[in-house]
């Protein structure tokens, strides 16, 4: 290109990067016009090859189907774009063993850093130095043996909020329904936090944990029935009016919420009236189920933005100890967790 402007390509490069500093105004404008005439723009790939960095950020997500992940992705991608970075997406499709492969593929394209929204388990477990020396930030799940920046919902505080809200509402039998923790840190943290809350409310409140798996809808049904039976003092459901009672479910995420809602429909039970409910995550359909589902809304967009921001700070040379950014959730009260009547 440059030759067509009457200068050397080194000069063009200088114009692009150093502009005013070391270029005579006369020749600067000459390049400028030529650059406009040719509609020229530099090749990021060649720049990357030469510089060693690419202005590319690798984003690995465990499951693009998960709306939570997408919400985070959205925030992160926007922040990256605003900072002049482009996002390369790699979706694991829940095949956790491909995490290593994903990192290598992305690293091949010289991404400057990683945002990892993965579960942190599986065969290809990624340790710190699998990252080819590039900085990374973990979202939502901590990885064993990889101490980098970490951004997530403040699970403990969120769980405390949910429990407190239900206890305040008069609920005395609580069931925490979660996917099996299987080494996923966020699930483990929420479950532990639930335990802590329950002992804190001893002996007024009783809490149980139920691990729900897709295939076993019946088991969930039974758990809900048992919960309700306990709450209404051992009487059979058929014998009880629609009297207020103190049974409530906390769902560990939106997937679980969906399962619980399906179970409730199967059992012909109603949220709020028969069983109280608060769920983690606040999908847009939450207000449409029964009397509306109360939720803990995650600041997904901010989580994504924060993750991107952290990473970009590192890319700009920031060198401090790994940070933990725990963002607060927000309780959204709807009909499913109204105070227990009398």
């Amino acid at each position: 290109m440059a030759v067509a402007a009457g200068v050397s390509k080194a000069t063009v490069s200088r114009f692009l990067n150093h502009r005013e500093r070391l270029l005579s105004p006369e020749i600067a404008t000459r390049v400028e016009t030529a650059i406009a005439a040719l509609g020229y723009s530099p090749s990021p790939m060649a720049q990357a090859l030469s510089r060693g960095r690419s202005r590319l950020i690798g984003l690995i997500v465990a499951d693009i189907t998960n709306p939570y992940s997408v919400a985070v992705l959205r925030g992160a991608e926007k922040a990256c774009q605003d900072a002049g970075y482009l996002v390369m997406l790699f979706n694991l499709g829940n095949d956790f063993n491909r995490e290593r492969e994903a990192i290598d593929a992305l690293a091949g394209y010289q991404v400057d850093g990683f945002i990892l929204n993965t579960l942190g388990r599986g065969a290809g477990l990624v340790d710190a130095d699998a990252l080819h020396g590039k900085p990374a930030v973990l979202v939502d799940s901590r990885h064993a043996g990889m101490h980098t920046d970490f951004v997530s919902l403040d699970n403990r505080a969120a769980m405390r909020t949910a429990c407190q809200h239900l206890v305040d509402g008069g609920y005395r039998e609580l069931l925490y329904v979660t996917e099996p923790s299987k080494g996923v840190s966020s699930r483990r943290e929420r479950t532990t936090a639930f335990g802590v809350c329950m002992t804190a409310h001893q002996p007024k409140v009783a809490g149980k944990v139920f691990e729900s798996v897709v295939e076993e809808g019946a088991a969930l049904d039974d758990a809900l029935l048992a919960l309700r039976t306990r709450a209404i003092g051992g009487r059979r459901i058929a014998d009880v009016d629609a009297e207020g009672n103190g049974a409530a479910v906390i769902a560990g995420n939106a997937v679980v919420t969906l399962r619980v809602a399906q179970a409730m429909a199967r059992l012909d039970l109603q949220f709020g009236r028969d069983i109280g409910f608060v769920g983690f995550d606040d999908p847009d359909w939450a207000s449409l189920i029964g009397p509306g589902l109360s939720t803990i809304s995650q600041p997904t967009d901010e989580i994504g933005r924060t993750a991107a921001k952290c990473l970009i700070e590192r890319l700009k040379g920031l060198d401090v100890a790994p940070r933990q950014l725990l963002l607060p959730g927000e309780l959204v009260v709807r009909g499913s967790s109204l105070s227990v009547a009398g």
Copy 2:
């Protein structure tokens, strides 16, 4: 690297690309072991720079928040990965004017082709040759002046199915609720298809179209009330029992479905009993609203896969006239569209 293996780098390159064909077995294994020892893998960027193609596919999506887009993206990304391509994602965040910018950014990284899931309107309207001569495939929305491969739901057939189903169920007053078409081809197609269906069922069935916008919930409420009023013969709603009647709504997509469901809740009307319903798109919460929402389920995954497949065929040199792949939707019958009693 190669030097450490005792050969020239040209030989290494040959090993990578031509392998058996033009390499002595003796030196082939020598390279092979060295390649394993060093844990070496070629740099895709350098390859791209040299070859002119990158094994990268640019995927531009109008709004990553849209679950439909994500579902398609998922299918496409998987197909790309399986074919050895990596996806670079660019999210417009509903800022349609950035489409041109997105294409240029992606082209800068030498993507071999584009998958465009955008609305095909806005200032930066992209014509065929904005693509830097690279092939593209359009998903869901046709772009004016860009005739490339096109993959989408068969909107006409899907609408026919929905209408036929409702008419068969005894519904006589149909209201099609859609977002304003604003030059989006899929919306326009569905609306026209609705019109065609209605004239086909003349005079037995009456159809109306309502364009819904977020801000005007009240207008939607009124439209639903009017619909119901017409269906029950002009009598005021308060005077009518829960008798079966022939009013039904068709929602143009999941967003509209959400709005309609909210309106129904506001009006204290029930799907199936008061107003029949079929909606385009089949979100996972459809079965949980009221008696379950009947839907037209799109083969999103297959749409994505097909789009990727089309593009990759082009990349392999296929040169035929632009193709139109219209994939069939599937009617999922739930409680919201049961036959009208009496």
